[in-house]
């Protein structure tokens, strides 16, 4: 339990949870459009992604802790928190957005480190909002919930992110 508390504190989890709740409260006032959910989960995941690495990546790695397990649990916990915080309009779309965007942030952390991990989810949200058309893969965030290709895209992103981050951990920058 003590390890868990120390871990949560070192990754600024309490502050992050407060931030996510505030964002959720603010954006839920605007409406229930799919792209609004995408944007909300995008902010939430970006905030949470800053906790995907410690202050000193090298130092963290020397710890006698089963890191892959901790990392995997951390990713799953972020997805779960996103679903809990942002499911004000529909559970299916929020789960899809949470899984996919968390995966993107995890890929970003593995490649760019925790400070820039937000780039991948934010860029994908920008593309989703501005690109015209209805491509099920590119616009997976805002297609109707029963679209198979969109769900598959989200799951693939989620799994790739989970595997990358679990195996590699945050990039050393």
């Amino acid at each position: 339990m003590r390890v868990l508390t120390l871990y949560a504190r070192s990754r600024a989890v309490p502050q992050m949870v407060v931030g996510v709740v505030l964002v959720s409260l603010g954006l839920s006032l605007l409406g229930t459009e799919l792209w609004l959910i995408a944007m909300a989960v995008g902010v939430g995941v970006s905030m949470a992604s800053t906790g995907l690495g410690g202050q000193d990546v090298e130092l963290d790695r020397t710890g006698a802790v089963p890191w892959p397990l901790w990392r995997a649990i951390h990713i799953v916990a972020i997805s779960a928190l996103m679903v809990a915080a942002f499911s004000w309009s529909g559970l299916e779309v929020t789960i899809r957005a949470a899984v996919g965007l968390t995966g993107l942030a995890a890929i970003g952390t593995a490649l760019l480190g925790r400070q820039l991990a937000w780039l991948s989810p934010v860029v994908w949200v920008l593309i989703t909002v501005w690109l015209p058309g209805t491509n099920d893969v590119v616009k997976w965030l805002i297609r109707p919930p029963e679209t198979t290709a969109s769900t598959v895209t989200a799951v693939v992103l989620g799994l790739v992110g989970l595997v990358c981050y679990t195996l590699r951990g945050p990039a050393r920058v």
């Binding site: 609004l36 944007m39 970006s46 860029v123 920008l126 501005w130």
Partner: protein, 431 residues
Amino acid sequence: MRPLRIELRRSAATWVGLLLLLVSLGMFYITVNGPWWKTSYGWHASWTTLSLWVRSALQMMLPLALGLGAWQGRRDRRATMDELLATMPTPAWRRALWPAGAMLITAVGAYVLFFVVGAIQVRSYFQLTWLLVTVVGVLAIVAFVLLGMAIGRLLPALVTAPVLAILGLLGLLVMQGTPDQTGYIFRGAVSWAISLLSPYFDGPHDAVSQISTNVSILQTVWLLGLIATAFLLFIAVTPKARALALIPAVVGAAIAVPLLPNDKASVIVPDQETSALVCTADLPRVCVTHIHEEYLPRLVGPAREALTVLAKLPNAPTSVEEKATPWSYHQTLTRKPGVTLVDDNNLIFAGNLRDKIVAGEDVVCDDLNAMFDADAAHAVATAWLIGAPVPVDTYGGTPRKARELWASLQSLPASAQPARVAELRDTTCAS
């Protein structure tokens, strides 16, 4: 100059520029080549069109510039260097010049390179309006990068950057909410004058209209104020200095907002040069816009055949002109007596140009059902005029509506039919 070179080589500035260029150019190429923009005007049809299209890429650039600026702006605080640096004898503004300068060089470079990609492909019509539009675009990039850096320095948390990027996106979306955006979630959120404070403006994407010079100049004034505020905020250390930093932006807005036009017609104005009509010397008169001069020979034959067919109608049109209506004004089409208009897309792409002219002007409505009904009415009129047995060309899956109109037309006495056909041919969104 040495510190600037070090900044460019060692800081994130170069990567920021590269990212801005790649993301916006990649996205732009997909957008402009997609089926949504199959129009007769290429994005590099003229210098003005090019500058407007490149500016529409600000939709991707501005949120990212804000976020990446914030990420860069917290650098000194992140490295807990700010107190040490504050003891330097150099004034704050000079210390801020190098990191800000490096960011601005690469970010503006990204915008300019994007423009160059189009400029080497541009076809014609060198007008100086492009310069003003591009200046507004460049100033917007400068303002947003500096604003990001200032906020990043003020709130040096890791989450500032992504939150700012998404807030920037939300801001751009809200600023799109002018009163004419039917069915948009933020419709009516801002008036036209306020919405023009947002430098991202989607359009006009044709070669016959442009943004009014007046608007561009006022946007320049406002953006210069915003840049001054952002830079002062970036170097400010005391709360008083931060409060004073807001003055230039407030003054800029106070000058621009009352003077900015409050209706769309004063924002998007016809381009007198490209939209001027070029006509045949002999009668019946057939005209195209200046920018489409090369298509006049293609139009003349089908247009005159169509006029012969249309002669059956009461008050039949006697000439054909290309529609030179500014972008997105399709709904408020003004009709000239004795003239039938042909759409620029039909002029260039349509296979059976004669039937397109006979069918009357294509209508574009916000309400899809109204649009399909108007299409059905046009198809029925065409069928009657060219003597086809059934409505020939119905889009939108409303053959039922077309059959109804056809049946009611056939039930009229023969003498009343031409008037009814003329009415059907003129059907617009409202009717």
